[in-house]
Every structure is written in structure tokens, then in C-alpha cells.
């Protein structure tokens, strides 16, 4: 059975259009222009236990909205969610016992309390027994070094420290499922590294299922076996990163430095440019391997150095986002 099942999920926000000026304000007292925004528009997916899934998309795509419905914060307009076979809308308390949720944009920690006090409170709320609590704190401290600031009031923590605090708070009750909405936002290289390391470790050790929302494609590349891309509330891609790369950018580039200028063609590669002794070839991964290409060319002219360029992940994702928008336009036109 899949640990998360989402079918035909829809969320519409009601937006009241406010007219400008005094005249508008008076008018708004009597008539309201109501407009519905479909932030999530018929989304369905399933996630297996132990998977790490990147849930990405441009700003305003509907990622946070989805996460909020999955975690029982909001009611969907229609559609169904099952977490471990239970609906978070119908049995919120039962579902959230098994969830850890972190919103990078917004802390769940009490501003005025010391970090440790919030942890104690959570221990009580989740009824975590002493032994497990000690064990979890120890393990999480190993990764996040929270003992350095566990006695500091949350309002005095730096962004990175606070984020670590939030992650620990979400993990104290050893949830089976983690929803992380932009957990690396605003973090420095070191802190980002420790968050990624944490995600990897927690997934390996406890088979925790993780949904990760992020704008940092490094996170996706390093962590996620599966990628769900949404745009304008609809899923436009769902698969592994490799599959996506193969489909969107099947070309790779090979840069060859010869000893002297040479212009050598190859039937399975396109010669993109020649500049002095440097030639650039473009080829499809599924037609020829880089090794074969180098070997073939080296028969004709001696090669000094080679470099292989993959398509940049940023470009690939950008193309995917644009594709989604294109598809949207074309359906609108039909």
C-alpha cells in the first residue's frame, strides 16, 4: 500500500476584489466582487513508503497549499487525501501523530521560550517516553549540534539555528512521514549541507518518507529519487530526475582540445563550433557514448584534453516550467 495517496485534489481560494479609493470602499460594503483562485487544480499522486520526493514548481504554483492540505491544516475544496490510509481532514489528530512538518518560511517554535522548553512541551504533547526522547535528542544533536543553543530563547536564534530547531522539533516524536516546505531557504552552505545530510540519514535509518519542497535544485539533485513538478496547480512532470533530463535535454556536449587546429566531423555528433584547436560536439546520449566518440575522433587527430558538459539542472527545470506554461496556453486556446 502507498503511504500517501492523493486523488483529484482541488483547492480554491476565495478572493474578494477590493476597489480602490473611498468610492470603492463604500461600494465594497454592499457588493463584493468575489473571485476564485484555483491554487491546486486536480492533482493526483501516490508515494511509496521510504521515498524522498521533490515537490517543486515556480512561485505560486501551489506547493505550500498542497502541503497544508496533506498535513491537515486546510480542507480541500474537493478530492481526497489518505495518509497511511487515514484522511487528515477527518481524523487530523490521528494523522498528525505520525507527521513531522516544517515550513521554512514560518517557525513553529514559541518565540519567547528557550528552544529546550519547546522540546519539553512537545515531548508532553506527543507523549514521547523518556528513553525514546533521549535517544532522539542525542541523534538529532549529533547531526544539528543543537546543544550549543538549546538554552537560548528562540527569538535570539539566527535563521539557520532556528531552522535546525524547527527540524529537530518536527522529528522528536519519530514521525514516519516528513513534509519539508523549503527547509533550506536562507541557509548558508554549511547549514544546507547539514540539512541535506540529515534528510539522507533519517531516510536511510528509519525509512522515513519525505516530501520536500524547495527552490534549491541542489537539494533535488542530491536527495530525491523522484520529482513532481507542478505549475499553476497542475502536475506537469512526475518521474526521476534522470528521466526528465533524458527527455528535456538528451544532448550532451563534448569539448575537445587538439594539439593543432582540426576540423573533424562524426556521423553521430554535431560539430557545434571550432575555435583554434578547440572543437565542441553535441551528441545524444542514447546514440553514442562519450567514450566511443572520443575514441573515434582520436583515430583522426591526437587529442590533448577532453571535457564533458551535461545540461545544467537549472536550465532543465526552467525548460520544464516553461513547457508547463506552454501546455496550459495551448489547452486554453483549444
Amino acid at each position: 500500500m502507498n503511504i500517501i495517496e492523493v486523488s483529484h485534489l482541488v483547492k480554491e481560494y476565495k478572493k474578494v476584489k477590493k476597489d480602490k479609493g473611498l468610492k470603492g470602499a463604500v461600494k465594497n460594503l454592499f457588493v463584493q466582487d468575489v473571485e476564485y483562485v484555483r491554487a491546486v487544480n486536480d492533482i493526483s499522486f501516490e508515494i511509496e513508503k521510504g521515498d524522498i520526493v521533490a515537490y517543486i514548481g515556480p512561485n505560486g504554483a501551489g506547493k505550500s497549499t498542497t502541503v497544508k492540505m496533506l498535513s491537515g491544516i486546510m480542507q480541500p475544496t474537493s478530492g481526497e487525501i489518505l495518509i497511511n490510509g487515514i484522511s487528515p481532514q477527518k481524523e487530523r489528530k490521528r494523522v498528525v501523530k505520525n507527521l513531522g512538518v516544517v515550513f521554512g518560511q514560518r517557525s513553529q517554535l514559541n518565540w519567547n521560550l528557550r528552544l529546550g522548553e519547546t522540546f519539553d512541551l512537545l515531548k508532553r504533547i506527543y507523549q514521547i517516553d523518556d528513553a525514546l526522547y533521549e535517544k532522539n535528542i542525542e541523534m538529532l544533536d549529533e547531526i544539528f549540534k543543537i546543544s550549543e543553543f538549546i538554552d537560548t530563547p528562540v527569538r535570539q536564534l539566527s535563521l539557520g539555528q532556528r531552522m535546525r530547531g524547527d527540524l529537530v522539533a518536527a522529528m522528536l516524536h519519530s514521525p514516519e512521514i516528513l513534509f519539508l516546505d523549503e527547509p533550506t531557504i536562507g541557509l548558508d552552505v554549511e547549514a544546507k549541507y547539514s540539512v541535506r545530510k540529515f534528510i539522507k540519514e533519517i531516510n536511510e535509518r528509519s525509512k522515513t518518507t519525505i516530501i520536500l519542497t524547495t527552490h534549491d535544485l541542489g537539494d533535488v539533485q542530491e536527495l530525491c529519487r523522484r520529482l513532481i513538478i507542478i505549475n499553476d496547480g497542475k502536475i506537469i512532470e512526475d518521474g526521476s530526475l534522470d528521466e526528465l533530463v533524458d527527455r528535456i535535454a538528451p544532448y550532451r556536449q563534448l569539448v575537445i582540445d587538439f594539439y593543432r587546429p582540426a576540423m573533424i566531423r562524426h556521423p553521430k555528433a554535431e560539430l557545434v563550433s571550432v575555435e583554434e584547436a578547440r572543437a565542441v560536439y553535441k551528441f545524444r546520449k542514447d546514440e553514442i557514448t562519450a567514450a566511443q566518440l572520443i575514441e573515434d575522433i582520436s583515430h583522426t587527430a591526437p587529442i590533448k584534453e577532453v571535457g564533458l558538459q551535461e545540461a545544467k539542472i537549472d536550465d532543465i527545470i526552467r525548460t520544464a516550467y516553461q513547457q508547463g506554461r506552454g501546455a496550459e496556453d495551448s489547452t486554453a486556446r483549444q
Partner: protein, 270 residues
Amino acid sequence: MWKKIKYYVSVAAALTRLAIQSQMEYPFMLIGHVLANCVQWVVGFATIKFVVDSFGSLGGWGYESMAFLYGMSVLSHGLVVVFFIQTWYMPYCVIEGEYDMFLLRPMGVLFQFLFEDFNLIGITDMIPGLMVFFYGCAKVHLTVNFANTAMILFTLTGATLIRGAVWIFCGSLSFWTKSTANFTDMVGELFERVSMYPLTIYPKWTQVLFTFFLPLAWITFYPVKDILGMEGSVIPVPMAVISLGVGVVMFALSCGLFRVGMYRYESAGS
């Protein structure tokens, strides 16, 4: 069931302790509030004395019984401020998505919300309340016995629940209005008008309104009348018990409205 109660009590205690602790970080605010509140209530009290002195009595109530009524009102005001002041921020919480945190935890949202912000500063309202209350008790020569003590406790509990319920009710409306407009200010004014002065000074229709439809007269007026033994009532049950009952029912209703409203909660797009 017993286990569940124990669990909720233990979390409530922890939340309260933490709330007090975090408010203790600002001790000067506490002192400032004590002073401000004392001045406010003493002035209010002086006004009543002035009025009663000028007119002899108000709606058939003499100065002594008015003092006692006033004391009960201020005391119940203090209690509601201690336990329910955070309901004033409900519209803000709805608009800003502040309930997310509570929804993510396996406990009732209203429960967490009420206890998380247990208002220590409200205790400063209790000090003048207690002073006026004991003054009133002395003036009416209230005999300290079991029955009277029980009646007063029932009344205060009922009064706190009624006032709290109305606040929760008003706050919950923001789930529908989605605006920061808050009626609690207006309602607060109403509370004081109805609970500090004898209901009999108001027109008949207002008395009916506050007895049956918006039962604010049960905050102090009826139970106090009963405790002071003014005119025999037609019902054999003590008014204080009815007050408590009204409080419990209203509180349950307002919790229900909050629950229904929560279905409309949409967090905030941050």
C-alpha cells in the same frame, strides 16, 4: 477517558507554566498594569458612589448591594481577562495563519490556543477586583458560610464561562468575515454595562433581551440578587446554579462554532 483527562491537564499545566515564564521576562509591564487597573476600577467605583449618593438608590438597589454587585463584576472581569484575553487576537490568528502550529499537533486547537497564552498580566485585573469584592462583602455583611461561598464560586465560574463564550463566539466570526474587525471591544462595553449595574435600571425589553436571548444578566445580576436574598425568586433552584448552567451551555456552543469555523480556516499564503 481518565487517561485522556490526565493527558490534557498535564499539557495545560505545562503550557500555563511556560506562558507565565515567558511573561515574567517583562516584569515592568506587570507593575504598570497593576497601577493602571487600580486607577481605572477605583474611578469606576467612585462614580457609582457619587451616583447612588445623589439619587439614593438605583433601580431599587442601595449603595451596599451595588458595591457587592460591582465587586462581583470586576472579579469576573479579572477572571475572564486571565483565561480568555487571547480570544481578542482570534481575527488576527485567522488572517495571519497562526493556527497552523496548533493544527500540526495532535490536540484540540482551541485548547492549545487558550492555554498557550494564559495571561499572567490579567492577574493585575484581579487585584482591584478582589479589593472591591471584599469591600462589597463587608458592606452587605455577607455571612461567610458554606452555602454563600459555594454560590459565589458557582457564579464566578458561570460568569467567566459566559463572558469567555461570548468572546470566543465573536472571535470565531472572523472565520467567516476574514477581516480583522473585532466586536470584542463593543461586547466588553456591554458586559460592564450589564454586569455592574442592576438590570432593573434598564427598560423592560432590554431586561428580557439580557435574560433570555443574550443572557448577560446571568453574569452577576440574578445570582447576586439571590445571594443577597433580595425578593424571593419563583424558581426553587439557586440562581448561581442556573448561571453556571448558562455558562456551560454557552461555552459549549461557542466551542462548537469555533470547530465549524475551523473548517473554513485557510492558513495564510506566506
